[in-house]
């Protein structure tokens, strides 16, 4: 047990996040999937910190958490702007820049 259990759990969470990232159409759903992936990475950092015998991993995890929060704030602002401009947040429909 020990470290390997945490790593496998984080790998599972990350894979589910990848699944959500690919399958979601709604912008908020995509952001939730990204959160899931970031959370898996934090779990990995803390697990490594514990089983490596130092606390640098926890410092990194804390930075990572704060940066993820900043990302959510800016991402949601963009989603709300998208909603205001188009009336919905389906990512497949927001393809004006392609045409």
């Amino acid at each position: 047990m020990g470290l390997i259990g945490y790593l496998l759990l984080a790998a599972g969470l990350f894979s589910l996040g990848v699944f959500g990232l690919v399958t979601r159409k709604n912008a908020v759903g995509v952001m939730v999937a990204v959160e899931l992936m970031a959370n898996a990475v934090n779990l990995n950092l803390v697990a490594f910190s514990r089983f490596h015998g130092g606390n640098t991993g926890q410092v990194f995890a804390l930075f990572s958490i704060a940066i993820t929060v900043a990302e959510v704030v800016v991402g949601l602002a963009l989603v709300i702007l998208l909603f205001r401009a188009r009336g919905d947040v389906t990512l497949d429909l927001a393809s004006e820049l392609k045409e």
Binding site: L3, L13, V72
Partner: protein, 186 residues
């Protein structure tokens, strides 16, 4: 022994909740299941003796991010009461194959790597605080600037512009709600 049982329970709860996060059709449910996963992560942090991070996880994620996400879901509803816009049935097989491939790659790497097994002693919130204000103080201050920038940037981006403030809007608004052409140009 007790720790291992706790870990298994938390791991199963987290994985099931994460599965619901990516499959639920109601986006509000998605966000609430994300809360279960993030809370489970906080419990895992406690099991890993990262008590300070567990508190931060609950305050920032379960308190802050989750609330923001709920606001995001509810502010972007098209019709009143209809939140089933998650629409997860999009590239489902491709998503499954990709997720399975990613997991196989990660698991292969995990099993092939010799893992460290030293265990840190006890709770180390004090050591964490010292590390933040001595060794990592520059990154710590830069982080505060980043957060300030993110908050101000979010306000500037999402600010509702007044009608008399036309000069700031570049061109006419994009025509809303075009129908998705199935099999159209990708």
């Amino acid at each position: 022994m007790l720790e291992q049982v706790a870990f298994f329970v938390v791991a199963v709860v987290m994985l099931l909740a994460a599965f619901r996060v990516v499959t639920a059709t109601n986006l509000v449910h998605t966000v609430l299941w994300l809360g279960v996963t993030l809370g489970g992560t906080a419990v895992a942090f406690i099991l890993l003796e990262a008590h300070f991070l567990a508190a931060i996880q609950i305050i920032l994620y379960t308190g802050g991010v989750l609330t923001l996400m709920l606001f995001g879901v509810m502010l972007t509803q098209r019709q009143q009461g209809v939140t089933t816009v998650g629409n997860p049935s999009h590239h489902l097989p491709a998503g499954f194959v990709l997720a399975a491939a990613v997991f196989a790659m990660l698991a292969g790497a995990i099993f092939r790597t010799p893992l460290p097994n030293a265990v840190a002693q006890g709770s180390n919130t004090r050591a964490l605080g010292v590390a933040f204000l001595t060794e990592h103080v520059l990154a710590f201050e830069a982080l505060s600037l980043l957060l300030l920038g993110a908050v101000l940037g979010a306000i500037v981006i999402a600010r509702r512009r007044d009608a008399g403030d036309e000069s700031e809007i570049a061109g006419p608004a994009i025509p809303a709600r075009r129908k998705l052409e199935i099999g159209g140009s990708r």
